[in-house]
Amino acid sequence: MAKRKMSLTELAEKVGLTLANLSILKTGKAKAIRFSTLEKICEVLDCQPGDILEYE
């Protein structure tokens, strides 16, 4: 998001998610993500899923 100079609000608008849901994703509280949502985020940020998902 920082590289693309995009705010959370702008990303939420473009992906079609609420700010609350995007915040849940960003803070790592989400239990699951739909492929369609992941695809949309990657499309908007022009990145790969591996760039935004990390296994700990």
Binding site: L17, N21, L22, I24, L25, K29, A30, K31, A32, I33, R34, T37
Partner: protein, 220 residues
């Protein structure tokens, strides 16, 4: 939510509201009546008379059959009896202490009924908001189960006490010759305990539903 389900929930909500105000009205009328009747009888008869009812545990023993009587159908006469049961004995008395005992019983039953109806109304309200699987509903179900369980014990104790009082203070041999009052301590009202088990089972199902709801809410 489908229209049929909305109608059912609206009907449930209406019935519970009716039950709530009906219970309050009945309790109010009873309390007013139990104050007004003694005052009225005191004016007319010079002494306050209380009209009330007490729950008792009783048995109707088998009638004695003359063994010399022959029944022509060739079979032996069989003794019949009504098994032990709980019932209500109505009475009039000038003793206000019995009235207090009866009033305590009415308040106990009313408290439980009103509490359960109140919790059910809240549960149905949440379901109408399409939020059945919430922690508040689970807690309300547990409260209902707890109240009913406590009631089953208190009710057994109360019936034991009232049966003892009726047996010792009332002229039951004179006025109720065919009834035997039995002050027995039955630890639980088994019907209520079964209901408590059913409610707790449903609550456990709702708890699982809550977990599924949370997983759904946290799936982006």
């Amino acid at each position: 939510m489908k229209k049929d389900k909305k109608k059912i929930l609206r009907a449930s909500s209406f019935l519970l509201t009716l039950a709530w105000y009906g219970a309050l009205l009945t309790l109010g009328l009873y309390l007013i009546g139990s104050a007004v009747v003694p005052l009225a009888t005191k004016q007319t008869d010079g002494v306050a008379t209380y009209v009330n009812a007490l729950p008792v545990h009783f048995e109707v023993p088998a009638p004695a059959i003359d063994p010399n009587i022959e029944i022509n159908d060739g079979t032996n006469p069989k003794a019949l009896s009504i098994p032990q049961s709980d019932g209500i004995i109505s009475f009039t008395t000038t003793d206000y202490k019995l009235n207090l005992i009866a009033t305590f019983g009415v308040l106990l039953y009313s408290a439980v009924i009103l509490f359960v109806i109140f919790q059910l109304r809240k549960i149905v309200a949440k379901v109408r908001e399409e939020k059945p699987f919430v922690v508040e509903n689970l807690n309300r179900m547990r409260k209902i189960a707890g109240a009913l369980f406590a009631f089953s014990i208190l009710d057994a104790l109360y019936v034991f006490i009232t049966s003892s009082i009726v047996q010792s203070d009332f002229y039951t041999e004179l006025y109720l010759p065919n009834i035997k009052i039995l002050p027995q301590w039955e630890i639980f009202n088994s019907d209520v305990v079964l209901l408590v088990v059913v409610i707790l089972t449903i609550e456990e199902s709702f708890r699982y539903g809550l977990k599924l709801q949370e997983d759904k809410d946290l799936t982006i």
